[in-house]
Symmetry: D2
Subunit: 259 residues, 4 copies
């Protein structure tokens, strides 16, 4: 019987000049894939370099984490930019990160969009198409990371691109398998490390998740996101990682999971 | 006897959002290598895409044209940014351009720094070293374009990187082989198309240039820059191109010249 | 009988660093109020100073022309920024312009929002309220310029703020008194100088405008906008100005019109 | 006998969008004048509003804290921008802050330049002149805060502008009365709260300071800066404030000190 395995990813490199967000050094101990901010919603060239150095040091696979050009709202605000222009911005960011990774001796493993752009590409067919038509033209297209069962996944698979569905250890799911929005009144965040660890384990073992209403729904994911920028993020990451290890789940970089 | 040959390059893609500089469509008819602004001193992702499309359409080779992060002064102001940080910015810009070129079906041929950064890297050994140490780590390092007989050239050659010395058709040279600064009182620009064409031909045939004092000095270049952003740029570009053609000089992309 | 009078305004100072848009020097000859870009969608501190100098030289009244923080789309893209935050941005821009005007010996006459923000504040009651509640707290609130018969006007008047309804000489109106959008298929621009001049005269004399369907509707405006950034803008501005002069209409700064 | 009095100032509002620096809420309890970042090196319109609200709540006087347009280096990098252009940027920032303060019901008390610009204006006569020539034209020029005994002070006083010399509680002084640079090898920061408090008291009582060599030199200041962005800043601020209170020094806003 094949060992169960999962990738743990986190958004990192989200500082900017004199500013920092999250504790990347700590988070890097518990993840196998790093989504590195690319300088549009967060990050800057030297922050990217330092983050890549942390990835090398910790043996973590790296991916690009492009976002809208909006530092002020951390890429979390919807922007009505035309699909073709957004894709130009995404390619620009991926390319920037990829060459810096190459200098650091790393290959780009994946791309995961950030914030409002993550959700836009999962739902907006035209944006998904323009993006994937661009990626498919590349010699070494990265794995595309996004929500399970969305337009982006369907379009990626139609083009023969690798797609990795992502789950969250520390977010509450609704019955449709979508995240409960942070901005609403319903509880949306799981702040107890043990509870986040349980959800992660459930995602790997059962390929299901318990929703806010108490239902259990199917959710097939190849990677689980751990936030690095929320309070207590380090403790949650540690709890998830240790729970999976103790449960004999192999925690491996995404490329090894989806193959 | 081998036919004399030269590359003609120009800085293009220097618009930004609603703004344009120069007439790229016109200039592309007369050049063989395009230096595309990368979004720091000028340019933006969609402008890059449109410029790459022009390159495809005109069969022109493309290079990255990174600059200081300073749109306000168009990358022409010296900036006291530490060498390592500047090189991060340069790699970031090259990578962004390279991936967008790859999507357009093009390979990155060269990199030419812009404005104050062009001069800084030619003279500042530490900056040259950090930059070239980064480029030499890449799988496909681009040709480095810069002034003849400078620190950057020497260091590039020591590392086995291709270096292409650049001359100017429309700029006046001093006796040391340096350009007369635009900001001074001495005439620094050649505005007569016929005169620029003569200087270009002299650079190719004699590998020399006549200086402001009337002396003739040696200047061995592999590529000649034609400005696209000055008044009458189109007429100068046309005059240079036609003069070379009429003189049986082969005008070819840089890669073919330096091999 | 009182002489008919009108203000002519134009958006100016829309350059940025090395970039220019429009021909401000020419337009300043034909206007009585200048809307100066404030550095968010266009303009920068030194461009503001030079534009203020032109205003002094031409005896033109000045206003702030704040926009969304989006140079890339020239402030023409809708942005989902919360009302309170947008108003912070507007105050910031007005203040910046006002103090620079004070140094130049000028008083701020008016504020006219730009592009997508112009339309947002005219229609979004909450945005209009937050903005006007801020302006009413100032010692010397500027005249608010906006479309006729909109939420912004109603709310401004309720707060006792001066409001100036604006018409356009070179744009086509629909039957509801709204501008035909530039982005649609219907003709939206009037490009014939004589026709623009006729529309301006009609606005002043009849306080009406002929719509795209041939109807004539009421449109009471205190100022007419002349674009400076479209092709042939100078000829249109001249035609409008001269037509009004020949027709014995007094062309005066806004402050004199609304009193 | 007149009671000894001093102003305590701190740089605040240095966050940017999702990022924060320092603990403004804490610092505001211990200061009488706040230098608010104006959106060029740090800060943004909504951060300014929130910082002004803190000032109102704490009864603290406010000043503009303009810097170079360089978030990446937090305004600490020298920039070769021409004096006239820098002054445009300074006025722009002061104006933005002043109008936002006016909406909050506050008057602008002072202006203190930030980082590299603080030092540039203290030493570069041309920059000082252009800046002060601009400020003197304003109806209500702010108090200019800067180092003691510098070009800026001399030029300000020649123009009849109020100037307030500033000392530091938590920085080490050299024998010439200049701060030991942070970037060098010599100790430059005072990190013990009690020691900083002693230096503050010495500055007020003796109008002298003990230098790194053990000498005691004259240093006449009207305001003492407490940093809010260094580790343990809150404890230092508290120690300074309490020491002065216990020593019967009146801690008052700058306007009351210099009159």
């Amino acid at each position: 019987m094949k060992q169960l395995a999962i990738d743990l990813n986190s958004d990192v490199g989200e500082g900017f000049g004199p500013y920092t967000i999250g504790n990347d050094e700590e988070i890097f101990s518990f993840i196998t894939s790093a989504n590195i901010a690319c300088g549009f919603h967060a990050g800057d060239p030297s922050t990217i370099r330092k983050t890549l150095d942390l990835a090398v040091k910790n043996g973590v696979a790296v991916g690009a984490h492009p976002g809208y050009p909006d530092r002020l709202h951390f890429g979390r605000m919807n922007m009505a930019i035309a699909a073709e222009e957004v894709v130009d911005m995404i390619l620009y960011q991926i390319g920037a990160l990829e060459l810096m990774a190459e200098r650091a001796g790393l290959r780009l493993q994946h791309v995961k969009l950030h914030g409002a752009l993550y959700h836009a590409a999962a739902e907006d067919r035209r944006l998904a198409e323009v993006l994937l038509d661009a990626l498919v033209r590349l010699t070494n297209p990265p794995i595309v990371v996004g929500p399970p069962e969305c337009v982006l996944q369907k379009e990626a698979e139609e083009r023969g691109l690798d797609y990795a569905a992502e789950g969250f250890a520390d977010r509450v799911y609704g019955d449709e398998g979508k995240l409960i929005p942070r901005s609403g009144k319903q509880p949306s965040l799981i702040t107890q490390p043990a509870q986040a660890a349980d959800q992660a384990l459930q995602l790997v073992r059962e390929r299901k998740v318990s929703t806010s209403s108490g239902k259990k729904i199917e959710l097939k994911v190849s990677t689980i996101c751990i936030h690095g920028d929320t309070q207590g993020a380090g403790r949650i990451a540690r709890a998830v990682f240790e729970k999976l290890e103790q449960s004999k789940i192999a925690v491996r970089p995404l490329r090894q999971i989806i193959e």
